[in-house]
């Protein structure tokens, strides 16, 4: 197979993420309109905020009649994990101009982060910037398009949110991370993070997720240090 341009490679490697995110866009569009947001406002939220999980939380808060500052603050806390992603990409982004880093920050999602970070970490740094743009734009257009589908379908199929389409995201994340767990420190990080995420499941604002991230990173480092000691002793 002819090697694709980095831009196209970014799009291609993101296709599975598009499939996983599409049903979420549909559900979001349907729920937002159902919660009383106008179709224009629903599309504008997907276009401007572009952060699925916080958009879902916002819609449920709107439905509950929450005040604006509450929704803003909740959005901030739910999106805190993006700061971790931002930090994690920083070492690779040092040669990128600000004019590229700003739009890529705007487009930083769980999905594009997973795809792009993997590419950069595994040493395919060539064309990293174009690759990131390809992945980000694909996610963005996909999210907008499927939000629109949800807005349209929401009126026809009010029970859409109960169809179980939410499994798609689960499948996407599981499929992308499972092959990365072949080394013991990565596995340790995953197990520790999962355990803490289960314990902190009931905590508000997805704070359990942040605690899980910290625990996972710590476990990964500890396992790495332990295996280094073992090799040193051998």
């Amino acid at each position: 197979m002819k090697p694709a341009s980095p831009w196209l490679a970014g799009v291609r490697d993101t296709v599975p993420m598009l499939v996983g995110a599409a049903p979420f866009g549909v559900i979001f569009g349907a729920l937002a309109v159902g919660a009383g947001l106008s179709p224009v406002a629903t599309l504008a939220m997907s276009a401007c905020v572009f952060a699925g999980s916080s958009q879902f939380v916002a819609v449920s808060l709107i439905g509950a009649g929450a005040a604006l500052p509450v929704i803003w603050l909740t959005t901030l806390v739910v999106n805190l994990r993006h700061a971790l992603y931002s930090a994690s990409l920083l070492p690779y982004a040092q040669g990128w101009p600000l004019a590229a880093r700003l739009p890529l920050s705007f487009w930083l999602t769980d999905e594009s982060y997973a795809v792009v970070e993997h590419r950069l970490r595994t040493g395919l740094a060539d064309g990293g910037l174009a690759y990131a743009f390809g992945s980000s734009l694909a996610m963005y257009l996909n999210w907008l398009a499927f939000t629109a589908v949800g807005v349209l379908l929401g009126r026809e199929a009010p029970g859409l949110a109960d169809w179980g389409l939410d499994f798609a995201m689960l499948a996407t994340f599981a499929a992308i991370v499972a092959p990365q767990l072949k080394h013991r420190p990565s596995l340790a990080a995953a197990v520790a993070a999962s355990a803490v995420a289960l314990l902190g499941h009931g905590w508000p604002y997805k704070l359990g997720l942040m605690a899980a991230a910290v625990a996972g990173v710590a476990a990964g480092l500890a396992a790495e240090a332990a295996s280094a000691r073992k090799e040193g002793a051998a």
């Binding site: 931002s86 499948a171 420190p185």
Partner: protein, 106 residues
């Protein structure tokens, strides 16, 4: 809804803030090697932390059983991805299994 403008403006601002937090400083900020090593574990920590609660606690109810479509589907997605390295195949196959399980047990 006039508030929609403020709602979206505020959400856009705080979301961008979290995403740009470190990336805007890429030219001036250098992490020490220990921090860089730690950050390499972010994906393998965060993604399982997103997946595992959704698989084991669908709808908030603890359900570690083979009749739980979310759990079975997730295991299939992970297994197919590990065996074949084909992410899309893993997603499609696991979704089919998930749907069948839903029909059978839900």
């Amino acid at each position: 809804m006039k508030d929609a403008l403020w709602l979206i403006a505020g959400m856009t601002a705080v979301t961008f803030l979290t995403r740009a937090s470190f990336l805007v400083f890429a030219r001036t900020l250098r992490f020490p090697p220990a921090v860089r090593r730690a950050l390499r574990y972010v994906p393998v920590a965060v993604l399982p932390a997103l997946v595992v609660p959704m698989a084991l606690l669908p709808g908030g109810a603890w359900s570690p059983t083979p009749a739980n479509p979310y759990l079975v589907g997730t295991v299939v997605a992970a297994a197919v991805a590990i065996r074949t390295k084909k992410t899309l195949l893993a997603i499609v196959l696991s979704f089919v299994v998930y749907l069948v399980w839903r029909l059978l047990f839900a």
